[in-house]
């Protein structure tokens, strides 16, 4: 007997109109009444249909811009579909981002109640569940504190606890697993298992194929707004790696698409970066780095097969284009190679001579070819970050320098 359907998506299409010239002021409207606004149409989703069954953990994956977040927002009733119908059974709660709507100036109590009501609880239910939320978040001693005074980790814990205690029938979750420390990740895993046992329906948008393999009953791969593959999570994860790999190769031109051979002609072995982040002192995750403070990159790697000679590749891009730095991939030192199924965290420290501004650091695993080329063996992970401090206009890099008057030169010569 087929399981009852919890969410039914039928021929859903969605396009966004992106104004090409920002004519959003009245003056422009008044001065050019006939010149309608120019729009570029971006087809985010086209004719997408699928069912999510009750009690199912359903993954949605795809490259950036493939439409997966749009799809989630359509189901969540945040965007309106252009075409098609969406039907959902029972109470649905979206978690597009952990802690949306948290007001830093209010106490945890006020925030939990407000957030709970947003998610569809009555104020009474929300108040009643406050203790459970706080207990789950392990924040018993800090309930009177304003959220502003919470550390980012505490805030994340609170947000996650609210999500769990809201107890919706259908939960829509966008990439919330990428936050928190290791013990928190454990907590998430435990919670997901609990939610599945309680028969909740969960739709998860994620980049982490490890999560897909670990939790999902079924998954869906979106590519350019269309369904590429749907079904078995292992299959979908493999297709995702392929799609990403093909795309990556097209752009780098390292290897012809479809060719999956290493330098000596042996088939490529795969490893995956399941998570990558920047750290500051105290092992806390950050996206903002002070000027000249070293960049501490961490990447969690999962190996699908035994690997002897993996290299870690990284590159730094300036926001808006321009690769600033792409050193040779560094060999990962390991005695006796790395085993399949192993999970490790790679740490890289990079001197910071970047001018304040926005950047992206990409990292991935690669093989070095004898000719000195690099063949990527994992999808790249990009981490946007910011170097804070006063801008230095017209400069690409922030080199240490010193200016002084040379004492021994006769000043008369200059007259």
């Amino acid at each position: 007997m087929p399981l009852p359907v919890a969410a039914e998506i039928r021929s859903v299409s969605k396009a966004f109109r992106i104004p090409t010239n920002q004519a959003a002021t009245l003056k422009q409207r008044v001065l050019h009444p006939l010149q309608g606004q120019d729009y570029r149409t971006l087809r985010a989703l086209e004719d997408v249909s699928f069912d999510v069954h009750e009690g199912e953990f359903f993954g949605i994956v795809g490259r950036n811009g493939s439409g997966k977040s749009t799809l989630l927002k359509l189901i969540a009733s945040i965007y309106r579909a252009d075409k098609g119908t969406i039907r959902v059974a029972g109470r649905m709660a979206p978690f597009i981002e952990l802690g949306v709507g948290f007001n830093p100036e209010l106490s945890a109590y006020d925030n939990v109640v407000l957030n709970g009501v947003m998610m569809g609880l009555t104020p009474r239910e929300a108040r009643r569940r406050f203790d459970e939320v706080i207990e789950f978040a392990e924040l018993e001693e800090f309930t009177e504190l304003k959220l502003r005074n919470y550390s980012s980790g505490m805030r994340v814990r609170l947000a996650f606890a609210v999500m769990v205690q809201v107890d919706a029938d259908v939960m829509l979750i966008d990439e919330v697993l990428a936050v928190g420390d290791a013990s928190f990740q454990e907590r998430c895993a435990e919670t997901f298992t609990q939610l599945i046992e309680r028969g909740k329906t969960i739709v998860l948008v994620t980049h982490g194929m490890g999560n897909v393999r670990r939790y999902c009953h079924r998954a869906l791969l979106l590519e350019s707004g269309r369904i590429h593959t749907i079904g078995d999570p292992g299959e979908v994860a493999a297709r995702y790696t392929e799609v990403n790999f093909a795309h990556h190769k097209q752009h780098r031109g390292v290897r012809k698409p479809g060719e999956r051979r290493g330098p000596q002609g042996e088939p490529l072995r795969f490893a995956r970066i399941t998570d990558a982040w920047l750290e500051k002192e105290g092992r806390e995750r950050t996206t903002s780095i002070a000027r000249r403070e070293a960049i501490e990159l961490r990447a969690q790697i999962e190996l699908d097969e035994d690997v002897n000679d993996a290299h870690f590749a990284l590159e730094i891009w300036r926001a808006g284009g321009g690769r600033l730095f792409a050193p040779f991939a560094s060999p990962l030192p390991s005695s006796g190679g790395l085993r399949a199924g192993e999970r490790l965290v790679v740490a890289a420290t990079i001197e910071n001579r970047l001018t304040p501004g926005r950047y992206r650091i990409n990292c991935g695993l690669a093989y070095r070819t004898p000719e000195g080329g690099e063949v990527p063996v994992s999808p790249i992970q990009g981490i946007p970050f910011e170097v804070s401090g006063e801008r230095i206009p017209g400069s690409l890099t922030d080199l240490a320098h010193e200016v002084r008057i040379e004492p021994h030169v006769e000043t008369e010569v200059l007259r």
């Binding site: 009852p4 966004f16 009245l26 359509l74 597009i96 709507g101 100036e105 407000l114 009501v117 104020p123």
Partner: protein, 284 residues
């Protein structure tokens, strides 16, 4: 909420995307109330006097205007109970300008919520108006105490003040909805409304009673929907013998115009907001 069917399966509901209204009525009001309360709590955050500012600001404004118009320009002195009238008018107008002023940017300010949560969109501007209304009600109580102190005899018609506030609130909401709906797409609205609200201040009988307006201008002032509201408040609170609405307006036609503008503002505000609500998350 979908009913639990016997098989244990929940009934499928069609998801139509965001709208101005929608969802359960209870949740709708709870959201408006909780959001307004949260705004109220954080409004005067980190200031020494805190909530007192919501009363102090109009009072200080009153003080300035009172000195200007009784000592410098010297026209207030001729009007009976000018201080009481000015105070009442300022409290009422302050509610209107406060609520509409904060409504302009409210949707954009809560961008994060609008783009990532699902709830009836009209909650955002309505909670802003409710927040101002709460302050206005408290200020009104304070103003009445002061009006007593000034020496105006209390009358049973004081009990009708909620009617005045309710009418004012409806008009304010209409204007607030229109502003909140237009701002995400036309950012000029903020500047325009800044000037328009000030113009409206002088085009309403706030610092002067309607009978002091020259005949030729009186029609214009009376067509302003705020005028009948302020004048009625004056009759009920300060001076039962003040000119009635009809006397003040000069003709029933002008009064009708003001009524039409009142209803028009509300209907247009509502329609505009309802039209923009489904797409506003994408426009931000």
């Amino acid at each position: 909420m979908a009913a639990q069917v016997e098989s244990g399966a929940l009934e499928l509901r069609t998801i139509r995307g965001p709208s101005a209204f929608g969802g359960e009525v209870r949740r709708f009001w709870n959201l408006i109330w909780l959001t307004a309360a949260a705004d109220y709590k954080t409004r005067y955050l980190n200031s020494w006097l805190g909530y007192a500012w919501s009363l102090l600001r109009p009072l200080l404004f009153f003080g300035v205007l009172y000195v200007v118009f009784t000592r410098v320009v010297r026209f207030g002195g001729e009007i009976e109970n000018y201080a009481a009238l000015l105070l009442l008018n300022i409290m009422l107008f302050q509610f209107f300008s406060d609520a509409t002023g904060s409504a302009v940017r409210c949707v954009v300010q809560r961008e994060n919520l609008v783009r990532k949560m699902q709830f009836p969109r009209i909650v955002v501007p309505l909670s802003v108006v409710l927040n101002s209304l709460l302050i206005a009600v408290m200020n009104m109580v304070a103003a009445l105490v002061l009006i007593l102190v000034i020496g105006v005899e209390p009358r049973w018609t004081w009990l009708l003040i909620p009617v005045v506030l309710a009418l004012l609130c409806v008009f304010t909401t209409g204007v607030a909805l229109a502003l909140a709906a237009l701002y995400p797409r036309f950012r000029d609205v903020e500047q325009i409304w800044g000037v328009a609200a000030r113009a409206l201040f002088y085009a309403s009988p706030v610092i002067f009673p309607i009978e002091l307006v020259p005949e030729s201008w009186r029609g214009l002032v009376a067509a302003n929907p705020l005028t009948p509201i302020l004048e009625q408040a004056r009759i009920w609170v300060i001076d039962a013998d003040a000119p009635t609405l009809l006397d003040a307006a000069g003709s029933a036609a002008v009064l009708l115009v003001s009524a039409v503008i009142f209803v028009g503002a509300c209907v247009i505000g509502l329609l505009l907001f309802e039209r923009e609500a489904p797409r506003v998350a994408e426009e931000l």
